[in-house]
Amino acid sequence: MLLEGRAEGDRLVLTAGGAWIALHAQELETMIDSQMAGEGTFRRVEIDMGRIERLDTFGAWLLERLVRGWKSRGAETNVYRLSSVYQPLMDEVRHVNPEAADQADEEYAHERALGSIGETIATVGYTVKANVNMLGATIAAFLRVLRRPRDFRITSMVHNIDNAGWRAVPIILLITFLIGAIIAQQGIFHFRRFGAEAYVVDMVGILVLREIGVLIVAIMVAGRSGSAITAELGSMKMREEVDALRTMGFDPVEVLVLPRILALVIALPILTFIGSMSALYGGGLVAWLYGGIDPDAFLQRLKDAITLDHFKVGMIKAPFMALIIGIISCVAGFEVKGSSESLGLQTTESVVESIFLVIVLDGLFAIFFASIGM
C-alpha cells in the first residue's frame, strides 16, 4: 500500500510504503488528492515514511505537495522515519515553488499575445528597411567597383552566371515550352467555338512575350537560384565566414552580394529570351499539330500580331526582377542566425518573398506600360 491514513482524534497518521517512483506517480497523486479532499480538520498530521522502499523526484515532489497541503490548512505536519539517503532530495524539492512560476507565467501570457502582433508588424518594417538598405549598399558597392574595376570579382560573377544561368537553361526550356504549348492548346480549344482559332497566335505571342515568359522564368530563378543564394550566404554567416571577411577589411556586399546580383541581372534577361522563344516554339508546335495552323501561317500571323514593343516590355522587366530576387535572397541569407533551423526558415522566406514581389512588380509594370501606351 502506497499511502494509508488513520485518524486519531485531532491527529492524522499517514503511513507510506512501497516505491514512490515515477511509475506509481499517477496512483500516488490520486491518493494524495483524495486524502486532501477529506473533510476532517486535524491539528497534527504525521507522515511515517519508514516503509518506503524507493523514492525519486516524482515521489519526493508528491510528498512535498502533501506536506504543503496540510500546512496550508493550518495543521502541524511532521515527516519522520524517512531514510537519510533521501534527505538531500527532499531538501532540493523544498525550494521548488511552482505557484510563483505560474504567476509569472500569466503576466507573461498577456505580453506574449500582444507581443506577437507587434513583433509581426515590426518584422515587416524591418524587412523593408533591410531590403532597401541592401539595395543601397549594392548600388554603392557597384559605383565603387566602377571606379576601381580591378576590385571586381569577375570569377565569382562568372561562376554565378554559370550556376544561375547556364545550368538553368534545360529546365527553363522545358517549362516554358510546356507553358507555351498549354496556352496554345487552351486557346485553340476555346476559340474554335467562335471560329477564331487564328487569334491563338496573337494570344500566345503577346502573352508570352509580355508576361508569361518573364514571369515563369523569374519564378523559376527565384526558386532555383534565390534559394541557393540564401542557403550559401546563410551557411557562410553561420560559420562566421562573413565576419572573417569583414575583419580582413573586405566588404561582404562587394565580395558576396554584388557578383551574385550582377550575375542574376545578366542571366535573367538571357533566360527570359530563351524561355520566350521556347514558349513560342511550343505554342507553334501545338497550333500546327492540334489546331492545323501550319508553321508558315503561324509565323506570318505572329509577325502581324506582335510589335517590337511587346518584346521590349518583357525584356525590360527582366533585370528588375533579377534585382529584386537577388536583393531579397541576399538579405535573407545575412539574416540567418546560428542554428540550421533558421537557415531553413530564411531560405523558405526568401523564395516566398521574392516570388511575391516579382508578381507585385509585374503588376506595377503592367500599369506603367499601359499608361505610357506600350
Binding site: A25, D56, V96, P98
Partner: protein
C-alpha cells in the same frame, strides 16, 4: 571521492561490457573491449580524439551495431533483448549528448516533458510542477521553460539537456563531453552540479570527457581507452602512476601540471 559508494566486495555492475568489437568497414575501432560500471559511481572515460570513446557509448546505447561481444545494462542482455525489454531499460537511463540534442521545435518545458509523456500517463499539473522541480535541480529559473533551445546560452543548453536526461529519474546517466564548450567557471559549476545530483538521486554516471578538471574533481574512477581497448582503470593516482606513454603524456603534460602539484600538496 563523492557519492554513495557501495561497500567493498558488494559492487554491483550496472553496465557490463564484454569482449565488444565494433568497426567501420575494414577499420576496427573497439577491439574485444571489456568494461564494468558500478552502481553509484562516476566513471570518467578518456582517450585520444577519434579513439572511440563516443563509439563505445553509442554502442552501449544501441545506436551503433556491434560485431561481437555482449552488453549488459541493469542486468538485461541488451544484445538479444526484444523491443519491449529494451524500452524498459531505456526508461531507466538518461543521455546528455554533446551538443544537448534538445528538440529545436519544442520549448524547454516540452523538451523536459517529452519522455515523460511517452512513458508515463501523468496529469498536466503534476508534469508542469515537475518541470519546475527539475529546472530548479539543474540550477535554472522556472522562467527558462518557455524558451526555445535557440534562445539558450551554451551553459543553459547543457543544463536543460541534463534536466531532460533526468526527467524520468533514471538510474544511469551518460554524459558525452558535458563540459566541452563551457568556460572554466561554467565547467566547474557543471561538474559540481553533476556531483550534487549524483548524490541526491543516487545516480550512476558514465562520463566521456577530456576535461582534466572534471576527471580530478568529480570522477570516482577513470578508464582509459587506447587502441580499442581499456588499458587502465582506477583513481587519479593510478592514472598518474601509469607508465603507458599516452597516459604519461595525457596526465603529466603541461596542461595537467597544475593537478600534479595539487595532488602532491
Amino acid at each position: 571521492m563523492n557519492g554513495i559508494r557501495p561497500p567493498a566486495g558488494m559492487k554491483e555492475a550496472v553496465i557490463k561490457v564484454r569482449d565488444i568489437t565494433v568497426g567501420f568497414k575494414d577499420k576496427l575501432v573497439l577491439d574485444h573491449l571489456d568494461l564494468d560500471v558500478y552502481r553509484g559511481e562516476i566513471l570518467g572515460f578518456v582517450g585520444g580524439s577519434g579513439a572511440g570513446k563516443s563509439v563505445l557509448m553509442r554502442t552501449i546505447l544501441g545506436l551503433l551495431p556491434r560485431r561481437e561481444g555482449s552488453i549488459e545494462v541493469l542486468g538485461t542482455d541488451m544484445v538479444n533483448a526484444d523491443d519491449e525489454t529494451r524500452r524498459a531499460v531505456e526508461r531507466r537511463w538518461g543521455i546528455l549528448f554533446q551538443n544537448g540534442a534538445l528538440f529545436s521545435s519544442l520549448t524547454v518545458r516540452e523538451n523536459l516533458q517529452f519522455p515523460v509523456r511517452e512513458y508515463l500517463d501523468l496529469p498536466e499539473r503534476l508534469m508542469d510542477e515537475l518541470v519546475v522541480a527539475k529546472l530548479e535541480m539543474v540550477g535554472l529559473k522556472p522562467e527558462a521553460r518557455h524558451k526555445y533551445p535557440s534562445e539558450l546560452s551554451g551553459g543553459m543548453t547543457k543544463r536543460v539537456a541534463l534536466a531532460r536526461a533526468l526527467s524520468l529519474d533514471p538510474e544511469i546517466v551518460f554524459l558525452d563531453e558535458p563540459t566541452s564548450g563551457l568556460d572554466p567557471i561554467g565547467a566547474g559549476a557543471f561538474d559540481e552540479l553533476v556531483a550534487t545530483l549524483q548524490r541526491t538521486l543516487g545516480l550512476t554516471v558514465y562520463m566521456v570527457t577530456h576535461d582534466l578538471d572534471s576527471l580530478h574533481t568529480v570522477c570516482d574512477r577513470i578508464a582509459v581507452l587506447i587502441d580499442g581497448k581499456v588499458v587502465a582503470q582506477g583513481d587519479m593516482n593510478t592514472m598518474l602512476a601509469s607508465q603507458i606513454p599516452w597516459m604519461r603524456e595525457y596526465f603529466h603534460g603541461k596542461r595537467s601540471r597544475v593537478y600534479q602539484q595539487r595532488a602532491m600538496s
